[in-house]
């Protein structure tokens, strides 16, 4: 993302996406209809948004394994606190986003101050958050007023609101990463943390903000999921922890940090959504979809990664 050349990862994921679309068009006529493609755009929302936060963390050389539990907690809080009261929608939505960012920042502060590997920190904080979620709600709680599902299913001029909003958020995020010193430092910290501190870059601030961004993204995903299902449940987010890593790595962001970008993640999320949609069209069972999805991830990453490594 930082040079004039297109990174290989972005080219690979785009090619895979186009390949899959072509395959779908050949196998099923209704798959390629604009209506269906707009549905896919909408269906990619949750994975794309969680993946955005995960990408920023992974670029710094870390990982956030607390996103699933955080989504669950924020989802039950959203529907539990709104409790079908329309006047509560705005304050709760705003509060949940701030809370998500704060809890994410606590992850970042823990990584910075205790110097524990992010994998451990977020694994632990994920367990804590899941426990708190279950203390608050054993099942679906509260509800949302009519019209809240506009956030998930709304259409303006025939375009899905959620899908278009996601696209805008990603474009803004990509520009911030590319054009601000802070964005540059995100890459630098992930590329070589020792060099970053020797150069006097604000390494700690970068980490705290990255995890806060991931927390805020989890909050957005939680709100979207509540809008989609009508209420939050204590395991709403359970699948997202590992699923959020899929679009990141398929999109060419390297787990070691410092390389990749958010636009790859967006395309990676579209790839997963297209794949699931196509398998639905082909009447593949949801169990079998999981199998295919797993194989595709391994295949995609093996195409995307840079194999220039020293074996010793």
């Amino acid at each position: 993302m930082t040079t004039g050349r297109l990174p290989t990862g972005l080219i690979a994921v785009t090619s895979l996406l186009l390949l899959l679309l072509a395959l779908g068009a050949a196998l099923s006529h209704s798959f390629i209809q604009p209506g269906n493609l707009l549905n896919v755009l909408e269906q990619a929302t949750d994975l794309a948004i969680v993946g955005l936060g995960q990408t920023v963390v992974v670029l710094t050389g870390g990982i956030d394994l607390s996103v699933g539990s955080l989504i669950s907690l924020l989802a039950v809080l959203t529907s539990g606190l709104i409790d079908s009261d329309a006047s509560m929608v705005l304050p709760v939505v705003a509060g949940v986003i701030v809370l998500g960012a704060l809890l994410g920042a606590i992850n970042g502060l823990t990584v910075v101050w205790l110097r524990v590997h992010p994998l451990i920190v977020t694994l632990g904080s994920g367990a804590v958050l899941q426990g708190i979620t279950l203390l608050y709600a054993k099942g679906p709680v509260g509800g949302v007023p009519d019209g809240f599902d506009f956030l998930a299913y709304g259409r303006v001029l025939g375009l899905p609101v959620a899908g278009v909003a996601v696209l805008l958020v990603f474009v803004i995020a990509a520009l911030l990463l590319r054009l601000t010193p802070f964005g540059r430092y995100v890459y630098a910290v992930g590329d070589d943390p020792v060099a970053a501190s020797l150069m006097g870059l604000p390494r700690r601030r970068v980490l705290v903000v990255a995890y806060a961004v991931s927390g805020a993204c989890s909050a957005l995903a939680a709100i979207y999921l509540v809008a989609r299902f009508g209420s939050g449940q204590p395991y709403t987010g359970a699948n997202y922890t590992l699923a959020s890593i899929t679009p990141v790595v398929v999109g060419g962001t390297v787990l070691a940090g410092g390389r990749g970008g958010v636009m790859g993640t967006l395309l990676g999320a579209y790839l997963v959504a297209v794949l699931n949609n196509l398998l639905n069209f082909l009447d593949v069972s949801s169990q079998m979809q999981l199998v295919v999805q797993g194989l595709i991830i391994i295949l995609a990453v093996s195409v995307v990664i840079d194999k220039r490594r020293v074996v010793a």
């Binding site: 010193p181 630098a188 070589d192 020797l198 150069m199 006097g200 870059l201 020293v310 074996v311």
Partner: protein, 503 residues
């Protein structure tokens, strides 16, 4: 400008600095010299706020300071060019030059055009023809060094430390670097120049300070000191005492143990050939990044060669792998002792026995008593300083860790031993021991291949020297032809690599 007074600093197992006082004035170039492990790098890192001194004071611009972080020292105008580059390989040249000092547009976003233009400008002043948009990862080591130097020039620098800046650049680039440094000196910048190339010190510097084993030995104006005086201050003894005597017999008599022909690793090693003979120490010289380590790794099977043949004791090895070579009696002690060689948390006995556990096992169970007894024997034979076989290697000095590795491989690898930078980070006393061990192994018939960046040990120890440059074998030297000048000429010359032979 900058004064470090009575600085003390230790690391686990090492006393890095013991009461060193060092001062650099505005408008002078002050050479800082000493053997590896003398404390130059630690002193630099304390001056730059990377490490805190355990005792002692720092004064900057006449006032005492306590650096809270490297960023703090940088903000005051103290810039360090480290030997290990502080570069972000996946950012571009221009982005690296201005990292932390980004050029902004009026909106506060990064001005990419201006960044590129100013980067091109500073690179031109350094005489380097580089595209500011290329990724640092894709540059040669020499070009990466020039990017490091460019970084120093764009900042408002008041004190500049350079740690071995010419280790990987040559001829013309060195001249341009010296020109820039003299210009900075004229502007009143205080420059600390760390190098082991004494000719550079006499060409460039105003004063010289020698450190040895963490202590200050002398400080003197360069005009008033001789080359010999500096060397004996660094080494603490006469050079001739360092190396064991060479055997009298001729190399050509000895049987060939290992022969590598036309080895190629795309982008790193091109068509390189190497012959190792029993009882001979072969020095593999060349600049960092010239492909020395990669060639050795390819021979050992750690990197896959795209072309070339490998013959050991007359047998052609079609697909070399480390396991197959170890089975044939070939061992490699890597440059990175901690990363690739030693299990730091295990004890000496476990580290020595690691590749040969079958010999210390009965019915699949480890015989700890036998393992320990064998280790105690090696500890005595190699004069490893430790509190017995149960000592954890993490607490041992670099020199003793290296001896543990030598003990491990010397026992199971009776044909070929490849040593990558065997004396890096080791004090002089341990160096002498390691040289003695290498010569003793050769006397037992082992073919030793030593990769080294230190010219004195290449020249002092090798029976036969192979010099690499930019992935090619630039030439080979033998006998009286092995001199520092000859090695440098082969390692840096831009003429096409012809093979030189001399008796």
């Amino acid at each position: 400008m900058l004064t470090l007074s009575n600085i003390h600093r230790s690391f686990p197992g090492v006393r890095a600095l013991a009461g060193v006082t060092f001062e650099v004035r505005a408008g002078e170039i002050h050479a800082l010299v000493g053997e590896n492990g003398a404390g130059k790098s630690t002193l630099t890192k304390i001056a730059a706020g990377v490490h805190q001194p355990e005792a002692g004071h720092i004064a900057f611009d006449g006032a005492p300071v306590v650096w809270t972080s490297p960023g703090h020292a940088k903000a005051r105008g103290l810039h360090v060019i480290y030997q290990e580059f502080v570069l972000f390989p996946h950012l571009s040249v221009a982005e690296n030059i201005f990292i932390g000092h980004e050029r902004h547009t009026r909106l506060g976003t990064i001005d990419r055009g201006r960044t590129r233009a100013e980067a091109r400008d500073v690179l031109t002043r350094l005489g380097v023809d580089l595209d500011p948009r290329s990724l640092v990862r894709d540059l040669s080591v020499a070009d990466q060094q020039m990017v490091e130097i460019a970084k120093a020039l764009v900042h408002n620098v008041r004190v500049l430390f350079l740690d071995e800046p010419t280790a990987v650049i040559s001829g013309h680039e060195v001249e341009l670097l010296f020109e820039r440094l003299r210009a900075l000196r004229a502007q009143g910048v205080a420059i600390v120049y760390i190098s082991h190339r004494l000719e550079e010190i006499f060409a460039l510097c105003d004063r010289v300070t020698v450190l040895k084993d963490g202590q200050h030995v002398l400080t003197a104006p360069v005009a008033e000191i001789s080359r010999e005086r500096i060397v004996s201050a660094m080494v603490g003894r006469d050079l001739a005492e360092l190396f064991p005597p060479r055997p009298a017999s001729l190399r050509a008599d000895r049987p060939v143990v290992l022969e590598a022909r036309n080895v190629t690793l795309p982008g790193r090693v091109h068509d390189a050939s190497l012959t190792l003979r029993a009882g001979t120490i072969t020095g593999l010289a060349g600049m960092i990044g010239s492909g020395r380590t990669e060639l050795a790794m390819a021979i050992f099977g750690g990197l896959k060669m795209s072309a070339g043949t490998l013959t050991i004791d007359g047998r052609t090895i079609a697909h070399p792998t480390p396991a197959a070579l170890i089975a044939l009696g070939v061992g490699l002690v890597s440059e990175d002792r901690k990363g690739q060689g030693l299990a730091m948390l295990l004890d000496v006995a476990a580290n020595i026995s690691a590749p040969a556990l079958a010999r210390f096992s009965r019915a699949g169970l480890l015989d700890r008593a036998r393992e320990r007894a064998a280790a105690e024997a090696e500890i005595a034979a190699f004069r490893i300083a430790c509190r017995g076989a149960a000592t954890s290697v993490a607490v041992m000095s670099g020199g003793n860790q290296q001896k543990v590795l030598l003990a491990r491989w010397a026992r199971i690898c009776r044909r070929v031993l490849i040593l990558d930078e065997p004396t890096r980070g080791v004090d002089v006393g341990a160096k002498v021991e390691i040289y003695r061990i290498m010569r003793a192994l050769a006397a037992e018939g082992v073919a030793v291949l030593m990769i080294s960046s230190e010219l004195p040990e290449i020249v002092g120890l090798s029976d036969h020297v192979v010099v690499m440059r930019e992935g090619h074998v630039a030439g080979t030297l033998e006998g009286a032809a092995i001199t520092e000048e000859a090695v440098i000429a082969l390692a840096t010359s831009h003429a096409p690599g012809g093979v030189e032979r001399a008796a």
